[in-house]
């Protein structure tokens, strides 16, 4: 109610006229009628109505609404436990992440070239479709590809491996029924694909994502692979790039929380030279480090591939080893898993909650 007129989300010309007419604070305007405002400020009738409607939304009812909409941490805890997570099929990494890639958050995956970022993204796009009775989310995925690394043969292989995995696990009738519908064809049809060639197309796609999500409410995962490539070479004005990236990050966080979906972004690494030594750091600058809620860095160490969780509000920092096999993203183990011991493996897909709680909090 004490909001000043210049801070209102109105067109600049209207604001200027209101200020010139002597209105400094929003409360000056509340008791006005449209015609009176129109004459005093010299704005058109439609503009006057727009101003008053906007103030009405901004005023007391909004505050009342705000009071009922605030959540307690207890509500949030219930919500977070009810949301699942997307397994990566590397159990060490899943444990580090607290069950898998979290829903409702943005996760950034940085890594050197060839280390497996696209493999992990493709694996997640398949894993999000695992039916609920197997412990998955049964959702669809949207894959925004800016680099051209999405090769459908590889996704088909991964889908085949997941179907086989579920076949080995199916025990009761519900699972067997779900398994009948789980085919490679269905998995591929539920994977939406958009190919963006530059940052303009990427920004356009993100602006339209709310419409896309309301049309396809079963989408539970959005992957942008990679967010770095279109932004790394087209900009001379780096501050403009930072502004656009921040806007993008904000929109993605909003989407993730409002629709309870997981947003996964891939970033590249760049060489930073300091004190004569060069090392690899995530690209897109320091400010981008604040954009994602969770940050996972994949790197090579000699012949091994390691994944480190570098930033997470709820999990501890840790480093695990993984490997890429014919079936996709897996644990690093030297022996092959033969016919899997169902109890050990089904725990991977069992109902993962962030902090397993046996007692009900109510």
């Amino acid at each position: 109610m004490h909001r000043t007129v210049p801070s209102l989300p109105l067109a600049p010309s209207v604001k200027v006229k209101l200020i010139n007419a002597g209105f400094q604070v929003a409360s000056d305007l509340t008791d006005m009628r449209p015609l009176q405002l129109c004459k005093e400020a010299g704005i058109s009738q439609e503009e006057a109505v727009e101003v008053l409607q906007m103030l009405r939304d901004d005023g007391q009812p909004h505050q009342q609404r705000a009071a009922t909409e605030s959540l307690t941490a207890l509500d949030l805890l219930h919500q977070e436990q009810a949301l699942g997570s997307i397994v990566t099929f590397c159990s060490a990494l899943d444990d580090t992440l607290g069950g898998g890639v979290s829903m409702g958050k943005t996760t950034e995956i940085c890594g050197a070239p060839g280390v497996g970022k696209t493999q992990l993204c493709m694996q997640l796009a398949v894993d999000v479709q695992i039916p609920v009775c197997f412990g998955g989310l049964g959702g669809k995925a949207l894959y925004i590809d800016t680099e051209g690394s999405f090769l459908v043969q590889r996704v088909a292989d991964m889908a085949e491996a997941v179907v086989q995995h579920c076949t080995l696990l199916a025990e009761d009738t519900e699972q067997k029924q779900a398994l009948e519908e789980l085919t490679v064809e269905k998995i591929l049809s539920n994977l939406f694909l958009v190919r963006c060639h530059d940052y303009v197309e990427l920004l356009a796609e993100v602006y339209l994502l709310p419409d896309f999500l309301s049309k396809h409410p079963e989408v539970r995962l959005i992957v942008i692979d990679s967010i770095a490539f279109p932004f790394r070479h087209d900009f001379e004005d780096l501050s403009q790039r930072t502004r656009l990236l921040n806007g993008l990050a904000q929109q993605l966080i909003q989407l993730a929380t409002q629709h309870s979906i997981a947003v996964v972004l891939t970033n590249q690494m760049t060489t930073r030279v300091s004190n004569g030594q060069s090392k690899l750091v995530p690209a897109l600058g320091e400010s981008w480090g604040h954009a994602a809620t969770q940050r996972l860095i994949l790197r090579w160490e000699g012949l091994r591939r390691l994944a480190s969780l570098y930033k997470s509000p709820s999990q501890m920092e840790a480093t695990v080893q993984y490997q890429i096999t014919v079936q996709g993203f897996r644990d690093a183990s030297d022996e092959h898993r033969p016919t899997p011991d169902t109890s050990a493996v089904s725990s991977q897909l069992g109902n993962h909650s962030k902090r397993p709680r046996t007692e009900d909090l109510s």
Binding site: L151, V155, L193, E201, Y207, H233
Partner: protein
């Protein structure tokens, strides 16, 4: 898409006028500003600015498809290299719509591979080719038409027994010689018309590194970022062309010496890596950012005086693998690769993969010299 004028997107005329005064005329200009800036430029309220952004986005957003649509066009997704073991590993061949890089020391066979792929692309589909033209951008003047003819005749003797077929094949390979960075970039940006006119199904750029390395001295400040930007632009244009026309793009690269701590390399490479500690080692040129930009990286290197190896260092579909080959009259011939032990589930950073160079110059003079046709 981004350069679409606002007038054609359904934005109202007076908003277009207001934006034009601030030099905002295309979709790209509108999307390059934040909503708050747009409020100021267009004189709109915040919700109206968001609506304008959504309207402009609808005009330039790419179409959504599904992975299943792609999978149904399976047969057209790869370009077979006619090397069976390599095709098997790459799950069909070189992918369409992606960049494949071939890098290695000089004289190892990169240009030979490019010439061989040119021949293959002109073959009819029944023989595994693309039945299309080839655009070959040559920056090192290394392309030899005689070698093209010789390779075609030696590799497919019955098919090319008729002279008209040879001439027709040669007429489908379009050669462009560009000698500076700016020329290459200009050529790439105008290449759409050439691709359509030549009905090209394969685009070869041999080599990316030579023009860039001779023009940019990376020890000077600012040059490194400028070079990275230029390479990024080239990569973006090439990816756009390969995606829109659904063709494979093959690039060649050179090698550089990486000074730094030795990277632990796979078992098979152990014997030849120099034993001294800080000596540095040879790896692919153009840096880490370029390694991100290419989708597939094939490294060619020397095994011994006669045999060479192709290493699949980076690929979205293939595991890390090593195949041996020699260069004969008919081009590349894979040698003795039946054993699957050379396929490892490991690998190392493709930007830091050590490459073996030629250590001796002993020629086997009894090998047949190339003959002209």
């Amino acid at each position: 898409m981004g350069s679409k004028k606002l007038r054609r997107t359904g934005v109202s005329a007076d908003i277009c006028e207001r934006l034009k005064r601030h030099q905002v005329e295309t979709c790209q200009d509108v999307l390059s500003v934040t909503p708050v800036e747009l409020m100021r430029l267009a004189g709109l309220s915040y919700p109206a600015a968001l609506d304008l952004l959504r309207l402009v986005s609808k005009a330039c957003v790419p179409a959504v498809s599904t992975a299943w649509d792609l999978w149904r066009k399976k047969g057209e997704l790869c370009f077979s290299t006619s090397l069976p073991a390599l095709d098997r590993l790459l799950q069909g061949g070189l992918p369409h719509g992606a960049l494949t890089e071939v890098t290695g020391p000089s004289g190892c066979g990169k240009t030979q591979l490019c010439i061989m792929l040119s021949v293959l692309a002109t073959l009819p589909r029944t023989m595994g080719g693309l039945d299309s033209g080839v655009i070959y951008i040559d920056t090192e003047s290394a392309f030899s038409a005689e070698r093209l003819i010789e390779m075609a005749q030696a590799r497919f003797p019955e098919f090319f027994s008729a002279k008209e077929r040879l001439l027709e094949m040669a007429s489908r390979v379009h050669l462009f010689r560009e000698l500076t960075c700016q020329d290459v970039l200009n050529r790439l940006e105008r290449l759409e018309e050439d691709i359509i006119a030549c009905r090209a199904g394969l685009l070869i750029l041999d080599s990316v590194a030579s023009v860039v390395r001779k023009e940019f001295d990376t020890s000077l400040p600012g040059n490194l970022t400028y070079r990275s930007n230029l390479l990024g632009q080239e990569a973006a244009v090439l990816k756009y062309l390969s995606q829109e026309f659904c063709i494979p793009v093959v690039l060649t690269n050179q090698i550089t010496t990486h000074v730094g701590e030795k990277v632990h390399c796979p078992q098979w490479n152990q014997a030849d890596v120099p034993a001294e500690e800080d000596s540095g080692f040879v790896t692919a040129a153009l840096g880490n950012t370029w390694s991100h930009s290419v989708n597939t990286r094939l490294i060619v290197q020397y095994e011994d005086t006669e045999r060479r190896q192709i290493v699949i260092a980076k690929s979205p579909v293939a595991p890390f693998a090593v195949l041996s080959y020699t260069i004969q009259r008919e081009g590349i011939r894979l040698e003795g690769n039946a054993s699957p032990e050379s396929v490892l589930n490991q690998g190392t950073d493709p930007g830091l993969q050590p490459i073996r160079v030629r250590t001796g110059f002993i020629y086997n003079l009894s090998q047949a010299t190339p003959s002209t046709c």
